[in-house]
């Protein structure tokens, strides 16, 4: 009998399973659950994109592409990033197509991190960064963002955690789960701290198309001297409602990209070919679809923020992604207690804030990637729950 515990990698065993997973397993066994718990859009992938994929299949274009991805797509991405940020990435040497933004994050971390390197991780954040750093032997160092700062990363917090071992800053804005965005002046303050150092930045901008403030989304690569020290991750899942297509991309200076490409090619070979052809269509011809989705999200966002504040679940106004992150401390419950009771007693699924880092305790993540009708029903159940707590 094999003692599996002995054969498994120590680093892997030490990784905690995602807090969300446990919750998901419970919710999946229940009936009549109304969910505000997902991290993916409710819209269909735009029809022209699906059509492009069908046409690719009809023509039998189903072989491997080059490791980096279709040159046609890399060129289109290069043009898109230039249009949005002004930064030019060479499609031949500075862009690769990844399996979702997730693979891009993994590859970037594996390329940059030596054992003992400290990696500054803005928290609360998406669940993958710290485990991927740990498995490389790196040390994740949380940079706690707070509601009083609208969950933005401040220069003070950043400075306070930099040591001579700091290798990388992971900057995930617009943010999942808080919905926070970093405006140009916020990013400039961060950039000022970094310019005198050798610290690299991994900017995860998967929600860049989904912002609702007056200022358009700004990327840190737009700021002077920052593109050369930044690995830029983006993808198609959120903006184009293409989660299941598994397609993202990395842009980075050539010396970094040459190393990242090795990992990508040995791990993945190349990203799904059909998805790559569809993605060209998405980038070229979906501006109206994105505008429509953003308008819809914005309507739901405004309603949800107003209602949650009315219920006493105070939340700052999130200006990006499709999440609100209300504070539930007034209920006297912990995040997990709140979510478990809401699920068991009122059949509504939301995600406890501490699934996104310890500092998320006292908060919950509510997704508005649902129709307003659906959101209203869920919120009326949340209201019943809150009222029951007051009795």
């Amino acid at each position: 009998m094999i003692d599996y515990d002995k054969i498994l990698s120590d680093k892997c065993k030490q990784i905690k399973p995602s807090g969300i997973r446990k919750f998901f397993d419970v919710a999946a066994t229940m009936e009549n659950v109304i969910s505000l718990g997902v991290g993916e859009p409710d819209f269909q992938t735009p029809w022209n994109v699906r059509k492009a994929a069908i046409s690719t299949l009809e023509k039998g274009k189903t072989k491997y592409t080059s490791n980096s991805g279709l040159i046609e797509l890399r060129q289109t991405i290069s043009d898109y990033v230039k249009k949005k940020t002004g930064v030019v990435y060479d499609p031949d040497h500075e862009v690769i197509i990844t399996v979702g933004g997730s693979e891009g994050i993994d590859v970037a971390i594996r390329t940059l991190i030596n054992p003992g390197d400290e990696v500054l991780v803005v928290e609360p954040c998406f669940v993958c960064y710290a485990p991927l750093v740990s498995i490389m032997g790196g040390v994740p160092v949380p940079l706690v963002t707070e509601e009083k700062d609208c969950f933005k990363l401040t220069a003070e917090t950043l400075k306070s955690k930099i040591t001579d071992k700091t290798k990388l800053l992971i900057l995930p804005f617009p943010n999942n789960p808080t919905g926070a965005v970093m405006e140009k002046s916020d990013l400039e303050a961060v950039a000022q701290v970094l310019r005198d150092t050798d610290i690299m930045v991994l900017t995860d901008e998967i929600y860049s198309e989904l912002t609702y403030g007056d200022e358009p989304h700004t990327s840190i690569i737009q700021l002077e001297g920052m593109a050369e020290r930044t690995v830029y991750v983006n993808g198609f899942s959120k903006a184009y409602s293409m989660t299941g297509w598994r397609l993202g991309y990395l842009c980075a200076p050539r010396p970094i990209m040459e190393q990242m490409l090795k990992i990508h090619q040995y791990a993945i070979m190349c990203s799904p070919t059909v998805s790559q052809y569809a993605a060209v269509e998405a980038l070229l011809n979906c501006e109206d679809d994105i505008a429509h989705m953003v308008r819809e999200y914005n309507t739901r966002r405004r309603w949800l923020v107003t209602e949650l504040n009315r219920l006493g679940l105070t939340c700052f106004e999130p200006k990006g992604a499709f999440y609100v992150f209300p504070c539930i401390k007034s209920t006297g419950l912990s995040s997990e207690e709140f979510c478990e009771r809401l699920l068991y007693e009122y059949n509504v699924a939301v995600v406890p804030g501490n699934a996104f880092g310890d500092c998320g305790e006292g908060y919950i993540r509510i997704s508005y990637a649902y129709s307003l009708k659906h959101i209203m029903e869920a919120v009326s159940r949340i209201e019943e729950f809150i009222n029951s707590l007051k009795k």
Partner: protein, 159 residues
């Protein structure tokens, strides 16, 4: 599309309070705007999207292509206005293409509709011909699925 109209088209029973929250306006502004739309006739009325089959009314609905000779000075308008005055008629639309007016109407049985077409519609001066199509099943109306609801196949929770 204008936000208030968009929200009301999805749910005409949405309260002014909820519309205000969703549109980023005050309740008073919403009330004022809706009153303005009603007064100007931009909002013509409020109705429901019902599933007639489940109401068991056994209504028969027909779609009728009507070809007409437009009248001098009045064009198609006068004929369309004559047809729309029948209570049985639900919609009258001027069309491009191989016929002129699309008329939909409902009755309690096929015979009733057939008689309406034969005795009242065809006999109107200027109506050249009609072609009646009976509705067998409705799948979608005004953006709502009549036949079934869509299923959300996403998981309940994902990061």
């Amino acid at each position: 599309m204008e936000t208030i109209i968009g929200l009301l088209k999805e749910n005409a029973r949405m309260s002014n309070k909820d519309i205000a929250a969703a549109a980023g306006m005050t309740e008073a502004q919403v009330a004022e705007k809706i009153a303005e739309y009603e007064k100007k006739g931009i909002i013509k009325g409020y109705t429901i999207i019902d599933n007639e089959d489940m109401l068991d009314k056994n209504l028969v609905t027909a779609f009728i292509e009507v070809k007409v000779t437009p009248k001098a000075d009045f064009g198609f308008d006068e004929l369309a206005r004559t047809i729309m005055m029948f209570d049985e008629v639900d919609t009258v639309t001027l069309m491009s293409g191989s016929f002129d007016l699309a008329v939909t109407l409902s009755g309690t049985n096929y015979k009733e509709i057939a008689l309406f077409v034969a005795q009242r519609l065809s006999t109107i001066e200027g109506v050249l011909s009609t072609s009646t199509h009976f509705v067998l099943k409705r799948y979608k109306e005004k953006g709502f699925f009549i036949d079934n609801d869509t299923v959300d196949d996403r998981g309940l929770i994902s990061p």
